[in-house]
Amino acid sequence: MRLRHRCFWLLALPLLLSPGGRAWAAFGEDAEKPRPEFSQEEGDWIARLIPRGKSTSIQIRFQAVGGVLENVAELEFAEGRDPDLDAKDFRSGFFAAQIAVAPGAEAKLAVRSSYFTTSTELWRGNPEDPRSWVNAAADRTRLPERVHQLTIALRDGGPLDADGQADGVILAVTAPRDSFWGYAIGTLFIRFFGVFIVLGVLQLGMLISGGIFKRIQARPPQPAVEPHAPPALETASAPGVAAEAAAAIALALHLESAAGRAAAAPVPAEPGKAASAWAVFGRGRLMADRMSAFARVQKKQTTRMQGTSRGA
């Protein structure tokens, strides 16, 4: 087997050996895990985070109606782990919100963000019961600037209260969910055809511009307009004289003339004799530039010699 074949198979081997499954998927820490930072604004809590699969941060605003939103915190996924639950579907993470109400009273929790889409669901669960994660069937409201709001009604001690007690505090454990694979496959098709669209539009642009250029090139060339055609020379045909001989005679006559002698004259060895003042000046500058290196050496030598003679 030749070396390049060996290299090829060496590189190909990992793919052939790798089984199709998630056994290989355990690569160190979860680099994309959202790490929300919380702040409060007019009684609402705002989580600012970079969700999975994004490079820019988003905001999720939590608002309680019929109670006081005391706290919103991030919930570690491990706490609510469920064998059927995939963290990738919950791209903005899990949240625990505490709402203070009168014991046994009802409140509403509204979660809104411009990151949510029409397919975003709000899931709720109980950290103590990993199988409790279900779609909370939230009411969806569309707000200006592409903001979607998901609202769920909660009762202190009710099924959506994660602490399960009518103690005046509702613990709402929620997580916005988008299907990871739905997004991944959907975006795959859209973006692949997007490349076709981009290059297709470019093709169209080039076909149009190419057509224009071809039309310009296909136009017959305009004849050059000569306003005053020179009068035809009167040529007298000399019988018995060949063209070559005529050319030789013409050249000899030209060289004999004053203009011919000037053109054929050698370049003057001494500037200033036959060249113009402009040419002499230019030549002088050129020579000075070329000689500057030698002039420096010469100057050094002169200085050294002067020094030596002084020393002597």
């Binding site: 090829f8 990992p14 998927a25 795959l188 490349v195 076709f196 290059l199 297709g200 470019l202 080039m206």
Partner: protein, 382 residues
């Protein structure tokens, strides 16, 4: 001064100031990897312009205690870290390389036959299929996108996208991209023969029309307007690419064009290669991910080649003047290697069939296509 003190001093020097006691098996493995790539570059001539500096970068950083990729106590980056930080992390070098590539590129064959742009788009199939495939193996969305783009066979685009989305995979992705680009003559021909019949390989294409200098001059402007309007995220790459090409075609800045093609390109290639190589330290590189990336990279190249050829077959269903499907494989960028492969395969069947200039069209379309795909991914994560 006692002997014990002298021995203690020597021991202290050996342990804290020399690398020998800190050498690990992982480092030895990486040194062997470095030597392999240096051999491939020097001995076999596989993409030597990139594999040599990358190989030497791997070689340099896999010695213990070397102050190359870290930060000083004052927080200043050490030598290669500085190249990496300001060149790659700031996404400058890939764009400057695109400037040089633009200045080197003659878009004549693409302008003469704009249909070939679709082949460049079809050849991005592998990029998106690999993207989904890697997700099944537990890669994150950003990692999957950076691995997928390897199949575009465009080194600077791969580096640009990976530096943006998954910098920890930069070394593996760049190495996979350049290795497979060097192996294009090995990977593509069997697929090309498998996907075409003898009659299809014998198709002769009409000579391309002459493209005027004015048309070539306008191309970068038209292309920039259309591409940047549709995919603004790709403006840094495409903008530089078209700027370089405009300098070339304008014919009035020959010095700038020459610098972009030669001196500047060579300088940034040195810094890019050594910086990318230096990211491959044993501690971060030796796990299954880089090996999977190499596997997926190969798969990606294969699917991209298939995609290009399939696109030609589809186009031939509607075209009166048929296209030789061998030029479909040139839709992966790898300029001009994959075009040469198409040409060579065509001549195997018919020594008088000159496909090179026809294959340059999809080849250049592949460069634009892979950059557009990269732009799509960048936009997706914004």
């Amino acid at each position: 001064m006692s002997w014990e003190y002298v021995f203690e001093l020597i021991k202290g020097i050996l342990i804290t100031q020399t690398g020998v006691p800190h050498m690990t098996i992982g480092m030895l493995v990486m040194l062997l990897v470095a030597l392999l790539f240096l051999y491939l570059a020097v001995g076999k001539g596989f993409e030597p312009l990139l594999l040599l500096p990358i190989g030497f970068g791997i070689f340099l950083v896999n010695f213990p205690l070397v102050p190359l990729m870290g930060y000083t106590e004052q927080g200043a980056p050490e030598l290669i870290r500085a190249f990496y930080k300001y060149g790659v992390e700031w996404e400058i070098i890939p764009c400057v390389i695109f400037l040089g590539l633009g200045a080197m590129t003659d878009f004549g064959p693409l302008i003469a036959n704009p249909k070939t742009l679709l082949i460049g788009a079809g050849a991005q199939l592998g990029v998106f299929i690999t993207y989904v495939g890697t997700l099944f193996f537990g890669f994150t969305l950003k990692e999957a996108a950076s691995v997928g783009i390897i199949g575009g066979a465009d080194g600077p685009t791969t580096i640009y996208l990976t530096a943006k989305l998954a910098p920890h995979l930069l070394g593996a992705n760049a190495l996979a991209a350049y290795s497979y680009m060097a192996m294009v003559p090995l990977i593509q021909p069997p697929i090309m023969r498998l996907m075409t019949t003898k009659a299809q390989r014998l198709i002769r294409m009409r000579q391309l029309r002459t493209v005027s200098a004015r048309e070539k001059l306008l191309f970068p402007l038209i292309a920039t307007v259309l591409i940047v309007l549709l995919v603004p995220a790709v403006a840094p790459l495409m903008g530089m690419f078209m700027f370089g090409n405009f300098m070339r075609e304008s014919l009035v800045v020959k010095r700038l064009s020459d610098t972009a093609q030669n001196a500047l390109m060579n300088i940034v290639t040195i810094f890019l290669g050594i910086s990318v190589g230096a990211t491959m330290q044993a501690a971060v590189f030796l796990n299954w991910k880089p090996l999977l990336i190499f596997g997926f990279g190969l798969f990606d190249f294969v699917v991209c080649t298939l995609g290009g050829i399939l696109t030609v077959h589809l186009m031939n269903l509607f075209l009166k003047e048929k296209i030789n499907p061998l030029i479909g494989s040139a839709g992966v960028s790898a300029v001009p290697m994959s075009a040469r492969v198409s040409h060579a395969e065509g001549r195997r069947e018919d020594p008088d069939n000159w496909l090179l200039m026809h294959a340059m069209g999809p080849n250049l379309a592949g460069v634009i296509g892979s950059a557009a795909a990269a732009g799509m991914f960048i936009a997706m994560f914004r």
